[in-house]
Structure formats: C-alpha cells, structure tokens
Chain length 467, copies 2
C-alpha cells in the first residue's frame, strides 16, 4: 500500500478551519466508507472513500471513522489493526496510528469504541454533528451510534456542519486545482482515445474499453459511469450495446478520477463517420455558441442561474434560426419552451465528486438561503447550481440539445409551447439524437480558467481528429 496524501499540515489546517466554524459546539463525526459488496460479501467494488473524510483525514482506507472535538480541536481516528491472518491475505499494512500520524492525528482507538465515545458525549449533553449518509451501512452505523431508529437518522443530520463543510470544500485551493488540472488532462486523453476510435461498425463497449484503458493506465479510474452512446438525447444512459453507424453522432461524457480522487467531467459529440451532416453541424454550432456565451459570462459575482438562462436563450436563438423554434427568444425561455430541447441544467460544481458534494444536499451546494432551487419548474428543477460565483469555484459548462420523441409526442398532444415550437419542423428531427459539449472551469478573481489540456471542440477541429 502506498497512501496518496497531501502534507499532513494540509489536513490539520483544514480541520482547524472546520473546528473554528463549529467552535464549542460538541463533536463532529466523519464516517469513512466500507468496502461495498458486489455479488457476495467478500467480492468488492473498487473501493471509494468518502470525499469529506478524504478532505479532512486523507486516508484512502476502508473501515475508519473520525471525530473532531470542537471544544479542544482534537481529532481521533477509530480503526482496527490487522491480525496475522489478515496479513497473509493483504500483506503488511501500516498500523492505524502510523496512518493517523501521516495526516497529523495522534489519537487512535479501536473502531467499536466510537459507539461508547458518542454515547458518553450525548449523556453529558454534548451535540453530535453528522453529515447525511448516502450508503445504507453508514446509516445503520449512525443509527446505532446515535441510538435512534434508521428512520430518524435523517433528523439528526447537522445543517450547521453541512454548511461549514461546503463553505470550505467549495473553494478549491491551489493544491486541489493542481490535482484537478491533472484529472481533466487525463480526461482529455480519454476523450481523444474514444474520438479517434469512433467509426462505423464499432460497438459502444469497445469505446468504453478505450476510455477505461487510458484512465487506469494513468493510475486513475472513471469518476462516474461513462455515457458513450449514439442516443445522446438519453441523458443518463449506460447502455453500450449499440453498433455505431455512419450518419450518427456519438455523445461521449467521461471523466477521470485521479489517484487523489479529484475528477474531470468532459463531453464531446462527434460524427461516427468522417463528417457531421448539415443538420448535425447546424445544431452543433448552436450548442457551441451557447457554450461560448456561457463561458464569457463566468466571473465572481455573477449568478450561475443567470448564465444558465442566458445559455438557454442562445439555444433558442439558434433553434429559431434553424426553424425549429419561433417567437421572442427571451419570452420562450421565460415560458420554459427551451426545455423541450434542454431539459436539464447548464452545469454543476466539480471536485472530488463529479457532482461535487451532492451527498451534502444541492440546496446547500448549489443554492443559498436567499436563492432557492425552483423544484417545481421543469428544467430549473434539474439545475444543480444557481448561486453567485466566487473565485475558487470549479464547475462545468455543458449546454446541449436533446430531441426526445416521447416528449415531442406528449407536449404536442397538449399543444404545449405551440407559440414557440414549430412542431412540424421538429418532427422531422425526431431521430436526431442529442448534442452536448462540456468543459471544466475554475472561477478566478476576474473571470475563468479552462482546466486541463485543451480538447478540440469546434466543428472543424472535431472533424480534423477523425481524419
């Protein structure tokens, strides 16, 4: 084992900031993840540590939990040592206290001591702050530690802790940005491998194989399940059985998670053959214009929701030029007519998680107490990020046009948005598919910075890669 860690002071400093935010308010409990069983207990998925645990305690090892005492600032790591039987199977690994020392923690205890430790704190009237569990085994543990039912664990989640953690993690430090540059550059190499191998007759899974090969050979892995499909209008498809055909487009949405667990998230849409068709090229340019406009707006102080809406308007303008939409573009967006084509949001925060900190809750990550998510509005309810940008945010810009036949049929039957949508024209695009283009940006003091190596995105550049 070879733990990938920042300097121990990094973790100590992060914990100190958190302790100050939560000062004199009891205990903070951060749960590391267990192994996840695939088809029997000891056959595991590739291990993934919890991101907040990684942020404050760094240790990419299953079976740990940590407590920070906000009165004293002291941190403890709970974990079990290996037996000789374990060593035969896993080799010699550092002890829990050796590992703890690497992240600036001097106190360690056996794992099961945490139950008593927390119960004792509770009996002396101290608060116990927890983050929301997203894995069932962690929910089971927290219920036991807090002595509440499984159903009641959610009521014990600490919004104060959630906000304090987000406030820290949302601003990426130079150390983190350096990791994200690496992760995005590996993602670029993955994209290039897929694009160069995209051709008529190849199967989706053969391209997934290329993406995985590049990621793993760079000591990374896919940070989320690949979307590699000629049916790009299906936003989250993980079916790879299609045989690609000339005339189709391939939508490829992939990203590396590097050894330090920072990720990239890139999308390109490319012709399966040598060139886009005229119709494909026309709508590709519409998406690209929308993207470029959105990028030009990136800077501190601008609300991401406004960038999203401006990007939507660019899409509508382009779709109107193509004869698919009509009427005043601003009115169309205000009415929501663009959601026929762009059903989701322009992007999201990016970091150790692809949807960064989504486990802590979108209302806190992407929105604020004053700007709330519009959860009842189709389109905006899928906008993961709305808040005003600050220097240090890392996020995606990923506009798209998705032609979903089932949505055409449903809304046309209702005559919905008939003032803005030329259904007759749109119906000639029923089999068009989908286009998305996505890059990753750091918000700087004055604007934005494209993360990672440049990945071609213009029509000409993309077609050039296929030559």
């Amino acid at each position: 084992m070879d733990l990938q860690l920042f300097d121990k002071q990094v973790y100590a400093d992060r914990r100190q900031v958190l302790t100050q935010s939560m000062a004199n308010d009891g205990l903070i409990v951060l749960l590391g993840n267990e192994e996840s069983s695939m088809n029997y207990k000891d056959n595991h998925f590739s291990y993934r540590q919890d991101s907040s645990f990684l942020y404050y305690f760094g240790l990419d090892v299953a079976g740990l939990a940590a407590v920070i005492d906000t009165d004293t600032g002291e941190a403890l790591i709970f974990g079990n040592e290996l037996s000789i039987d374990d060593i035969i199977w896993t080799g010699v690994l550092p002890t829990v206290s050796d590992m703890a020392a690497l992240v600036g923690v001097s106190q360690t205890r056996p794992y099961n001591d945490i139950t008593h430790y927390i119960h004792k704190a509770q009996t002396t009237g101290r608060k116990v702050h927890i983050l929301p569990p997203y894995r069932p085994e962690n929910k089971i543990k927290l219920a036991a530690w807090l002595n509440v039912s499984l159903q009641d664990v959610a009521d014990h989640v600490s919004v104060k802790l959630i906000k304090a953690v987000i406030a820290q993690r949302v601003i990426k430090t130079p150390l983190e940005i350096a990791e994200m540059e690496k992760a995005v550059s590996i993602s670029v190499d993955m994209q290039l491998a897929v694009i160069k191998n995209t051709r008529p007759g190849i199967k989706g899974y053969e391209l997934v194989a290329k993406a995985n090969e590049v990621a793993i050979a760079a000591n990374s892995r896919l940070g989320y399940p690949a979307i590699i499909t000629p049916r790009g209008e299906t936003l989250h498809t993980h079916y790879y059985g299609h045989t690609l055909q000339d005339g189709q487009m391939l939508l490829c949405d992939i990203g590396a998670e590097n050894a330090m667990h920072y990720g990239g998230d890139l999308t390109r849409t490319v012709p399966v053959g040598q060139k886009f068709t005229t119709r494909q090229a026309e709508l590709y340019e519409v998406v690209l214009n929308s993207m470029d406009h959105a990028i030009s707006m990136l800077k501190p102080g601008v609300r991401y929701k406004d960038i999203h809406l401006a990007a939507c308007q660019k899409l509508v303008e382009g779709l109107s030029q193509a004869g698919i939409m009509k009427g005043d573009p601003a009115e169309a967006v205000a009415a929501g007519a663009h959601t026929m084509f762009f059903q989701c949001g322009l992007g999201h925060m990016l970091g150790m998680d692809t949807h960064d900190m989504e486990d802590l809750g979108e209302p806190y990550v992407g929105y604020t107490d004053t700007l709330k998510k519009e959860t009842a509005v189709f389109g905006l309810k899928s906008l993961r990020l709305g808040r005003e940008l600050e220097a240090g945010y890392v996020l995606t810009i990923e506009p798209g046009i998705y032609i979903i036949p089932e949505l055409i049929d449903r809304w046309q039957a209702e005559n919905k948005y008939a003032d803005f949508i030329n259904y007759n024209v749109l119906n000639t695009y029923r089999d068009f598919g989908g286009i998305r283009i996505e890059d990753n940006f750091l918000i700087t003091g004055t604007g934005s910075h494209l993360l990672g190596k440049y990945l071609p995105k213009s029509l000409k550049e993309i077609e050039g890669l296929k030559g």
Copy 2:
C-alpha cells in the same frame, strides 16, 4: 436497453424445480439488487444483479424483487414503472410486465406491495423463505418485510431454501457451460494481453488497464478485483502501484464476467523479464506438478479435499527436492507444515460468482452435512471446497507457493514445524514472492474438461509468450 436472457422456458423450468424442492412450504422471496452508491447517492458502481435472482428470474435490472408461491408454483415480480421524468434521463425502457413476460412471469406488482404481500402471508401462518442478504440495503428491506429487527434477519434465513438453490445452481447445464466457455476464453485473452505487456519498467496499473480493456471490449468486465502484482505472496492484494523490475515475477489473477454474468478465474505467474531465474523456474515446476496431479484426480466421486491434500503433498515433495522442506511429505501435510507455503485452499466452485454462491454459505456450497469444514485448522479453514465431486460441477484448480516473511519470522520464533522446514534455506527465499497457476474445469461423467481456450502454462510456453 437490451436484456441478455436465455429462453423464458429456462427460467420457468428452474423455478419449477425449485418449487418442487420446496413444495407446499409457503413463499420463497428472492431479492434483486439495487444500485450501489459510490460517493453520493446517484453516482453508482457498475450495476451487479444478484446471482440467484439472475438464475431464476434473469432480469439484469435494479429495483426488482420476486416471490414464488410453493403451493401454486406461481411467480410474481415486484417493481416500479418509469415516469416521463425517468424516461428523459434513462430513455424508454420496457415495462415491468414486458420484462416479466420475457422470463415467463405473468404477474407483476408495484415494488412496495411486497411488504403487504409478505405480511399477509405471515398472518395466515405461511412460511417465508429468504436467502442470506450480503448487502446492507437488502438487510434493511428484509427486516421491514419480515417485521423483525436488523439483528434478527439472520435468524430468519432459510437453510432449506439455501440447500435447494445450491442443489440446482451447483450442477451447470449445457447452456451455462457454453457461457462459461466464453467467459474463460475472454479471460484467456485478458491474460495474454497482460503477459505480453509485462516488462521491466511497466506499472502494475498499466497492466490492469490492459486486462480491463480486453474485458470491456468483449462486452464483459472483471468479475473480481484484479490481482496483478510482483508480490504474489500477498493473496488478495489490490495495490497496483509497483514498477515492475527485471528478475521479479508477476502474478496475474484475473477473470472476465461475461454479459450473462458467468465468469472465468485464471492465474498465471510470469517473469517480468524474458526468463525465470533458476530458483523461480524450480519452484514454478513444483507448482505446475502439483496442479497437473490435482487435475489428473478430477472426476465424480472423488472428494475435493483429498485432491487438495494430494496437491499439498506434491508441493511438499517439490519443496523437499529444493531443500526447503524435509522429512516425510505425507507426515508434513498431515501435520500442516505445507501451510507455511500454501496457506489457502486448492480452489473453489465457479459460476456466476467467482466463489460461486459464497453468499449462500461455504458450509453448504463446499461441504455437506457429513463433511464439515475444518474451521479451526490453519490452511484447511481456507479451503472453500471439500465435498465429493459430481458431474456438472465447475471449479478452479489453483495451487501455489507463497513465501511470506512475516509468517517465517513468527513460526521460526516458535520453532514450528522445525521437523519439516529447513528455516536456514527458507530464509534465503525471503524475497522470493509467490507463484500461483490456475485453470477452470468442468467435472464430466468420467473426468474433467478444461474450460475455455488453452492458456500456456509450462515454463517454456510462458517464456515463449514473452519473446
């Protein structure tokens, strides 16, 4: 989506056999698996359906559960239909009743109806048979359905159902064997890609990348985490950060799980450079002789435990010729002295699971009521399979020699097995590493059949691949 299924009659026939084994004894509940969350709820590991669910109901789809009524033989599938919102994200998928029809099931219900369905059966005094859950979310569900505490779920597991399921699944049918031939042949291609790329200077993860590429490009995946390491004595290491060096051996234990979820499990140990050293070659031959002897014993009616012990004796004979062991080989094995070098078992059942049906319990899969596992004996406690072989079993043969410095130090300090181990000689092998060779076999009416394409295993053949 493109469901990979056998003919629906296959599933109906399997359920009928199970119903007959469990006749007039209440309900059988088979739980399909959910998606497993990686670092936030909606970021999932690659989906893996439960193997018993696949065996009886075939559907490789998250969020299903099934009930078989052993009085009537009727089967029900519980699952929820997609909304239009879901379709935007996932595309149009078949309905639950469409899917159920593909596996010969005519009755479907919304997922949550299963709670009431089971409670009702319980109130009318009917038994409810469940298999042991290996995922925490399934344990939570079963507790709710059976109206018992999480701790008490284990007490409600049905040994009768476990035995009935194992009795069926342990005998592979021609349809299954055809899938296993494919899976093992893909595993062979994975091995060849790794072996041909093994050279000084390459990183372990670069070889893992090759294995993944071959698997995924064949519409398969790794059935278990790869073991690709120059420290082959560490039985279950998943660390891939080593830079390979001339003079080392690489141990590669990998297997494909194909689209129908049948798996291969192959190991080869190869020189990192062009040739084995003299010491490596000598012990390689010892392992290969042990393997060949074990293979020659494979036939119905022979106890696998006896094959294991015979293979151990061959190892001891070879280690004695090399001057590392001494004394009478049979006595050494009877005393357990071989476990200094071979701490684990000779092999295990193979099927949809790498350790086939391990979730149902080794005492039932690998042993019988009359032949129990020796859980207190080092070595034998890790022998997953002991029972008498029958035609239709599929299993691995995987002897090895593993030199574990920590075990040498511990046992030498205790003077353990001093009559059988030449510690002075052994200590000159401290950095030797480990060797394992593994192939997969079907037990036939008269002997055994090697599954999949032939993968070179002799010293000469292996060195030839590196040329």
